[in-house]
């Protein structure tokens, strides 16, 4: 799609960036000690910390990724919202207060408190770095995706811009500025998401969504064929010429037609002898990319998302009146939604990515199963159902093991504040996740989905209500990325300076040296994040975050839980648990089908690992290896774990 920047967008974006940098400069004078730099001096009020938790946690994955996934796959995207929120229960009831009592600056501090082991220091720091890196990728991808519609700049500029601004935030004032940036962003995100949902309800739903009269919906047409047999397709409309017909990898039948010198691709329904219009991006062998047969600038690649059948009060209508949160979902449930599926085809001329219409019952849209195959009666395999369980397990177990979330427990003065801030976070995050369903479904039926980038669904939904709300929502989404990336870089740079250099390498650094080392680490990690952001362009950010959760749940959570609740845990067991969790989760991800398809871009190559989410294998095996090794390394004189909570 073509995007043009508006002056409003640039002004609001500049204001938010100026506010963020202003906060950082303001607090830079107060961050003189390692404690104030890495843990905000432990003096943040629990209510501020709670909102900052939300600002830290509600990342590009939550705002851009989930809304995008709901816009394309309905309820299955909402599963992420449910899982992400459920994970906070583990954080509140199991982790929050002990974590506050056990640690000082980093996740490694907490799990190493009893053992003082070099091995734990090393492996926990490596785990922190890896989880943070995997979490950084989707944030940077989200930033790159945002600047194009917001400022009219290319993807890479967004990635570099976020990297540079975050490096400034973190190096200036560390955790204090990061906390207030996250607080600001968390508050604004909730307020403006509520505004957006209110606008969606007010507009209602129409079959040909025209974005408030601003942009007519492109009507995708159907052609009649006289013959659809492979190799001899003939159509009634003689203004079109048949170029050739072909099958994709799944056996779907398509035909390429030509009219006025412009080529288009149509999906053939062999039963009804009808051809439905598709959208196609073709890349020829010489590198020329065409959108629906024309250059991108022609604007011939359309935004999509509508209902082909709307029932209101039992009667089919073209447009509903204003809806409420219940009738909005009911209207979608009782109608038919036009979703879009993607398929890729290669031939002697080049590669084609074809997007074709998929009329879907509203009942299926608001029920699980469109993305994650769970219904055996609809052909779901055991492996697909295990994949679903694995994803939900990773989301549940991952939150409480994310290093950038855990370090926020050190910014409050005591354990009760840690608990209270977690409760504020749960309330705010819970409200936001309810809103994601409405924003995602709103995008699904308002004709705003950019098929080349589903991450943009929520900002483009905002754009359909005017450039001002779009500018705010997009700038806010950009601030969302800034807040989360800041937290991640603090966690990762703390792992390098405090865990690896100071404690593991025994450098015994002074406060001043430690702050300098953390700042240098932040700059290096920021640079790596920029490179990773450029490398992973185009992937759904929520899906990528699922990986970070799986690694955190596999490597970190077993160690934390067993140290807290099993007295016979040994340092060797903890190290074994972290290593097994890390290697298994990473290995399974890198050998999964999704990685083969979307990262390695291998077309029609079967991956060796049959599931895409590793948690169902890696989490239990990490627990088992920790228990097994602990039992074999019991020593008479080894200090047994006292009841950590007592």
């Amino acid at each position: 799609m073509n995007y043009q920047a508006s002056p409003w967008a640039i002004v609001i974006f500049a204001m938010i960036v100026a506010a963020v940098l202003g906060i950082s400069f303001h607090f830079s004078k107060k961050s003189k000690s390692a404690s104030s730099y890495m843990a905000a001096g432990g003096q943040i009020h629990w209510s501020v910390n709670g909102i900052a938790f939300a600002g830290d946690y509600l990342s590009a994955a939550s705002f851009l990724g989930i809304c995008g996934m709901i816009a394309l796959s309905g309820y299955d995207g909402f599963l992420y919202s449910i899982g992400y929120l459920a994970g906070w229960i583990v954080a509140l009831f199991v982790i929050a207060e002990p974590m506050k009592r056990m640690g000082k600056y980093t996740f490694t501090d907490a799990i190493d408190q009893k053992f003082q082991s070099k091995g734990i220091q090393f492996w926990a720091a490596i785990s922190t770095l890896l989880v943070s890196m995997f979490y950084l990728i989707p944030q940077m991808v989200g930033a790159g995706a945002l600047v194009t519609p917001l400022l009219g700049l290319p993807y890479w500029v967004g990635v570099v811009m976020v990297g540079v601004i975050v490096i400034v935030i973190v190096t200036l004032a560390g955790m204090t500025s990061t906390t207030y940036v996250q607080f600001l962003k968390g508050t604004m995100l909730i307020v403006f998401s509520l505004v957006l949902v209110f606008l969606v309800m007010s507009r209602g739903i129409m079959k040909a969504p025209d974005q408030g009269g601003e942009k007519p919906y492109h009507k995708f047409i159907t052609l009649e064929a006289t013959d659809t047999a492979a190799g001899s397709v003939k159509i009634k409309d003689t203004t079109y010429t048949v170029v050739k017909d072909f099958l994709d990898g799944k056996g779907l039948h398509f035909v390429k037609l030509s009219k006025d010198g412009v080529e288009s691709v149509w999906k053939i329904n062999d039963e009804t002898k009808q051809l439905t219009e598709t959208q196609v991006i073709s890349v020829s062998k010489d590198g020329t990319t065409l959108y629906n047969g024309l250059p991108k600038e022609a604007g011939a690649f359309y935004s999509v998302g509508n209902m082909s059948e709307i029932i209101e009060d039992g009667v089919p209508v073209e447009k509903t009146k204003t809806l409420d949160p219940f009738s909005f979902i009911e209207t979608i449930k009782n109608g038919t939604v036009i979703r879009w599926a993607k398929t890729m085809v290669s031939d002697e001329t080049g590669k084609m990515t074809i997007y074709h219409q998929l009329p879907t019952s509203g009942r299926d849209v608001v029920s699980p199963g469109l993305k994650y195959k769970v219904d055996a009666s609809k052909g779901a395999t055991t492996m697909q159902r295990l994949d679903f369980i694995s994803l939900m397990l990773a989301l549940f177990c991952g939150t409480a093991a994310l290093p950038h979330i855990l370090i926020r427990y050190y910014t409050v003065p005591n354990a009760a504040s840690a608990r209270k801030s977690t409760i504020v976070a749960i309330a705010v995050i819970g409200l936001f996740y309810v809103l994601t369903l409405y924003m995602g479904l709103g995008a699904m039926v308002n004709g705003v989905i950019d098929l080349t980038n589903d991450n943009m669904s929520a900002p483009l939904l905002a754009k359909s209500f005017g450039i001002f709300i779009f500018a705010i929502i997009s700038a806010l989404a950009f601030a969302t990325v800034l807040g989360t990336v800041s937290g991640l870089i603090i966690a990762a740079s703390g792992a390098v300076s405090h865990d690896l250099m100071d404690r593991y390498a025994g450098r015994n650094m002074s406060d001043k040296t430690k702050i300098r080392a953390t700042r240098i680490a932040a700059i290096v990690i920021g640079g790596i994040a920029i490179l990773l952001g450029l490398l992973f362009e185009g992937m759904n950010v929520s899906y990528l975050v699922g990986w970070a959760f799986a690694i955190a749940a596999s490597a970190n959570l077993p160690a934390i839980i067993m140290i807290l609740f099993w007295k016979r845990t040994t340092k060797e067991g903890v190290i074994a648990g972290i290593i097994v969790g890390l290697i298994l989760s990473l290995g399974l991800i890198l050998l999964s089908q999704e990685t083969f398809d979307n990262v390695y871009k291998l077309v029609n190559v079967k991956a060796p690992v049959p599931i895409n989410n590793p948690a169902i294998i890696s989490v239990p095996l990490s627990f088992l290896s920790l228990v097994f090794v602990s039992l074999f390394t019991q020593k008479k004189k080894q200090p047994s774990l006292e009841k950590t909570n007592g």
């Binding site: 432990g42 309820y75 919202s81 009831f93 449930k333 009666s377 679903f388 009760a416």
Partner: protein, 103 residues
């Protein structure tokens, strides 16, 4: 060696909070596991209409609301336990100090 990021008083309510935290966690984990199992074992159950919504939406929203309710309940109980149990400790200390002064 390193210490915590800030200091705090001894908390006599820890044992009670840990027990409540464990039970609340188990309770929520069961409800969450139920959601996953229903999705896998009987996905059609999730499509059943409940008023203007369906089971999937109700259960999903329910899980979010249940988490918020449990969190507030846990905080209420924990705060009350801290104020009562740590007050007793402070009262004991005051009494000891008073006895010492009188002696």
């Amino acid at each position: 060696m390193h210490g915590p990021s800030s200091e705090w008083k001894k908390d006599n309510a820890i044992s009670l909070k840990v027990i409540i935290g464990k039970w609340f966690f188990i309770l929520y984990a069961i409800v969450y596991a139920g959601f996953i199992l229903i999705n896998v074992a009987s996905p059609k159950f999730m499509s059943i209409d409940i008023g203007s919504l369906n089971m999937a939406i109700i259960y999903g929203f329910g899980l979010i609301l249940f988490a918020i309710l449990l969190a507030f309940a846990y905080n209420h109980i924990s705060t009350h336990a801290e104020s009562v149990m740590n007050q007793e400790q402070e009262d004991d200390m005051k009494t000891e100090r008073k006895d010492g002064d009188e002696a």
